[in-house]
């Protein structure tokens, strides 16, 4: 029998796509899906180690007041958690330690939009060398200088180790952000991302055949049209477009005029994650 897949969808402090992300996990076949408020982790009621799949949804952590997800990353890096047993001698540890442990255990993390920004600013993505986490790329203000909600075509790198995009060639999903422009910290970082096929998703032309730098197909001016990157293991994945916003054909902007499958394209990412966990018996 396949093991029970347990998903945690983290929320609080300005996160706002937790409901649909949890729905995606359920549709994908996960047996346990919990929306957990950050405060439940901090007070020790919940622990990341009890789950297989960490979902970091979109939103505006702390209003993105210091730049997208900056204050959110600062909290995960520096906030202390309390021990599990109430009343017992308090065992303070950094929340970040739970994150590190989760990653070291080879478990799955998916960050969408603000969740992607958080992973990048924590240095968890791309993190070529899993132990050495410093920020090496960023996501910043769109070239247009404005927030935009629009649907984009995405090209999938078939050679990417990304667990989530396995078997996919292209996607059509909405972006909804003001700070999605991907910039690598150096040419070396970018080269290595390409070399190791960490750039799982690129903004593309409508046929999803070629990456594009042209606005609005590339909605934010991302360098090399990067829309999503994964860790070298493929188990940690962040992307700006919202897969959880396209779970049913009625989410598609042209569903009243096109013949579409009942299930939305975004679900494939979650299905891949859940079946990976079952396969790997994480």
């Amino acid at each position: 029998m396949a093991p029970t897949v347990k998903c945690i969808v983290l929320t609080g402090n300005g996160t706002n796509c937790e409901m649909e992300m949890a729905h995606a996990c359920r549709l994908a076949g996960a047996e346990v899906v919990e929306i957990v408020h950050l405060s439940e982790l901090l007070c020790g009621e919940k622990r990341l180690e009890d789950y297989h799949f960490l979902n970091l949804p979109g939103g505006f952590l702390d209003g993105d007041d210091l730049g997208s997800a900056k204050a959110g990353a600062n909290r995960i890096l520096h906030a202390k958690t309390r021990g599990r047993e109430a009343g017992a001698t308090s065992t303070e540890a950094r929340l970040y330690d739970q994150f590190s442990r989760f990653i070291e255990d080879g478990k799955l993390i998916l960050g969408v939009c603000n969740g992607f920004q958080l992973l990048v600013k924590l240095g968890v993505l791309p993190a070529f060398d899993a132990m050495e986490r410093a920020q090496t790329v960023t996501l910043t203000y769109n070239d247009s200088g404005r927030f935009e909600d629009r649907w984009v075509h995405l090209k999938v790198d078939p050679a990417s180790p990304c667990v989530y995009t396995e078997g996919l060639t292209g996607l059509y999903l909405p972006v909804r952000h003001g700070e999605g422009k991907f910039i690598p910290g150096s040419a070396e970082v970018l080269a290595r991302l390409h070399r190791e096929h960490c750039i799982a998703l690129q903004y593309s032309t409508a046929d999803t055949a070629a990456a594009t730098l042209d606005y609005p197909a590339n909605p934010n001016g991302s360098v090399d049209a990067v829309a999503g990157i994964c860790s070298a293991s493929g188990r940690i994945f962040g992307l700006m477009p919202h897969p959880e916003a396209y779970l049913h054909r009625t989410n598609h902007p042209r569903w009243t005029r096109e013949d579409l499958p009942e299930t939305g394209m975004g679900l494939a990412l979650f299905r891949n994650a859940v079946s990976f966990i079952k396969r790997q018996r994480l």
Partner: protein, 992 residues
Amino acid sequence: MLNRIEIGFREGIRDALGEKIRRRIVEHLGLAVDRVRTVDVYTVEGDLATAELEAAAAGPLSDPIIQTWSVNRALADRFDWLVEVGFRPGVTDNVGKTAGEAIRLLLGRADAASVRVYTSRQYILNGPLGRAEAERIAADLLANDLIERCELIDGKAWNPARGVAPCAPKVAGEDRPRVEEVDLDVDDAALLEISGARVLALNLEEMRKLRDHLKDPGVLRERARVGLGARMTDAELECLAQTWSEHCKHKIFNARIAYDDGTGRVRVIDSLFDTYIKGATRAVRARMGENDWCLSVFVDNAGVIRFDENWNLVFKVETHNSPSALDPYGGALTGIVGVNRDPFGTGRGAKLIFNTDVFCFASPDYAQTLPPRILHPRRIYEGVREGVEHGGNKSGIPTVNGCLVFDDRYLGKPLVYCGTGAVMPARLDGQPTHVKEILPGDRIVMTGGRIGKDGIHGATFSSEELHEGSPVTAVQIGDPITQKKMTDFLLVARDRNLYRCLTDNGAGGLSSSVGETARLAGGCDLDLAKAPLKYAGLDPWEILISESQERMTVAVPPEKLGAFLALAAKMDVEATDLGRYTDSGRFHIRHGEKTVASLDMDFLHDGVPQLKLSARWTPPDHAEPDFPEPADLGPALKAILARLNICSKESVVRQYDHEVQGGSVVKPLVGAANDGPSDAAMIRPFLDSFAGVVVANGICPRYSDLDAYHMAAAAIDEAVRNAVAVGGTLDHLAGLDNFCWCDPVESEKTPDGAYKLAQLVRANEALYDVTTCYGVPCISGKDSMKNDYAIGDTKISIPPTLLFSVFGRIDDVRRAVTMDAKKPGDLVYILGMTYDELGGSEWYALNGFVGNTVPRVRPETAKARYDALARTIRLGLVASCHDCADGGLGVALAETAFAGGLGMDVDLAKVPAEAIGRNDALIFSETPSRFVVTVSPDREAAFLEPFRGQTAARIGTVTADGHLRLRGLRGEALLSETIGVLKAAWQRPLNF
């Protein structure tokens, strides 16, 4: 100790904000500037070592990949002008608050006072600008003098070593709360003087009522028992002024009105609200009988209807006009996060699922001299747009529907309508959730933000016209994240049944939220000294009426107080026990042990005297238009498509997240290229179900120039029509009325008050007639009656405006229809008769006329049409359906065609019309209740079945060749344009 941390972009990294500002300087101000860079400044107060400041700068405050930072050293160099803009003392600084929290967390400092942060921003300008031009950029674009301070530095005098001196805009207040007593035993002139000087906005009769109240021996005895004398305390006076304000008591809507309908006959109307609005709802509900799905109407912060067995729907629309005139960004942001708290604070609390917004502005291209204290309409447009963007997007609520209306009479006061819908479980622990209950002994707990001087006098200020002395403190700036944290917490507390009910702190602050909820128990005993303050120096009356944002007042049973407060602490939300509800019959307010107000609850709530007003209707008589029919209607159609009221609003729509929460079904932009104008929104609030909610609105202020009756009828019809166009049905549609009027009380300032009041009466008559015919009950509403500007000799009054919003249940969203033509060969139908009704139309306006033939709703025939159309949509017989009104048939056909990426051949001779001999009149008449529908030929017979006996005519065919071709009334080739050209004309005007 103050330190400055500056954050700038590295060389070669695009400064998107700087670039946006540069474009605005060039395009909006017409000034030449080469480059604009921005630097974010954090002024840090606290005892911090240099290493700690550096850790903060390099850590949470900057992005190492693209930014650079400095501590106590200026980054700016080699510029012509530098403008640094920061907040004035006491103005909400959300970024400063977040930065302070981040630094304290980083450095492990628990005490909030140990590190405080104040933010400002530098705009570094390079270009051939003189001082006057730089000052203009600062004043007209970068800083709002009302809430921001601004420093201008000449590059030639710049010393980078010295930089800009650090400045902390603290509120310097002393904690010495004072209670002032006001002697009301004075003559009439002095009473009015008191009302004016304190921004009480009370009239003479109301002031006299207060004066006489204090002469009642019984009242004096009661007061003596709590240590109060024959004078009113400032807290009492302010509280009464809030509670009795036009804003809170709707005195005009509840007035006794002698109405002369123009024939000389005078009829007395005892409360427009009760007679027409509540009256219509009563009539509709009586007809629904056992199937009445209205649950809570006009009694709570929002209206509640049934969605299904387990869930209720909640909706409220508010206005935030006056604050948005002064500070467009803060005013509009507060407008949206403020209306969020209305459905949230309804019954036992509801989860927010959609926002709507409708803005009325003067033209962004307004080129005349601006009167004093008025911001340029483009600045208001951008500020309001951005405020609602931040408020809506950051709260995670999709903005699904809205519109922009332009008329230069909105120059004095823009209208900012914000609406929010919500869902609540029908029952909690078996008890209905839409009913509020409070028992004596329940604790009064305030949650969320702290109290400052922001938003003092908001309620009374919006009950006046915008004038020279309008108070700046009336403006607040919302903080969506503090509110989001609070609502996250309260929904958990609700589901654990930790409180009895809750309400929002909006206009009038605690005086209003506690005052209102205390009626449920029968009194209250509140200690203002316990209220958490943003800074010292607030007097008790200020604490009582402050409109500081993000606060809810919650009634918590005493046995649950501990659990409630513990959950709040865990979820990092401030919650404070301020006192208890009682059954004493008194509104009793203390500061510590000292009583600062003690008012009889009945006097507070029911003591306001009824206004007595007169209204007189005189039909206006405009010049009859006199211009020739154009031979080629192509240029005319393009000009109409480019009218501000008709053109694409895509640039605004895209900046609002309309898909968050995952239930988007009919989006605001639809069609082959995702850019056609949707008529209404549809969402699925529950992702495991196909039941949906339809949301639409209607607004037609131009028709007020002819007859406000038809303005209101057209607005209601438009909202209903839009909902039906996507798949809504009249069986389950509820309405909200939002009246924004110019002052209709005749006075020296308003000599035409009787006419404006007659307009209001007529609009209400229309509301009754149309909603009762359609069976669409109003469940909530709002009025804002003083939308005038009067400074010096200039008076600007808005056109009387009714926004009508509807929402309702959809059984199966998979039957929804969008407005874009779907396939070549589909047949084009028009539903409904076209009359010669161009009075107040866009076509007449374009030609410089108003005219007299106002578009009229014919509710009986319209209702039959809506029912038939709903049936055909439910049966899947309709390919596309588009509302036909503003700009008439011409616009509806063009939009249907270009949204579908398809052409259309149409024969105008086939359009059912009455007494229309001109082609321009036929395609631009704005007769309401019509639709343009496309139907697949194989479904034509079935489609027509329900329309038997009605006006429905096949007028053309959808084509593959990308041309819109119209054949004229005399069989002539009237118009042939490519859809690309038409779409481009429609997309250009507001594409900035």
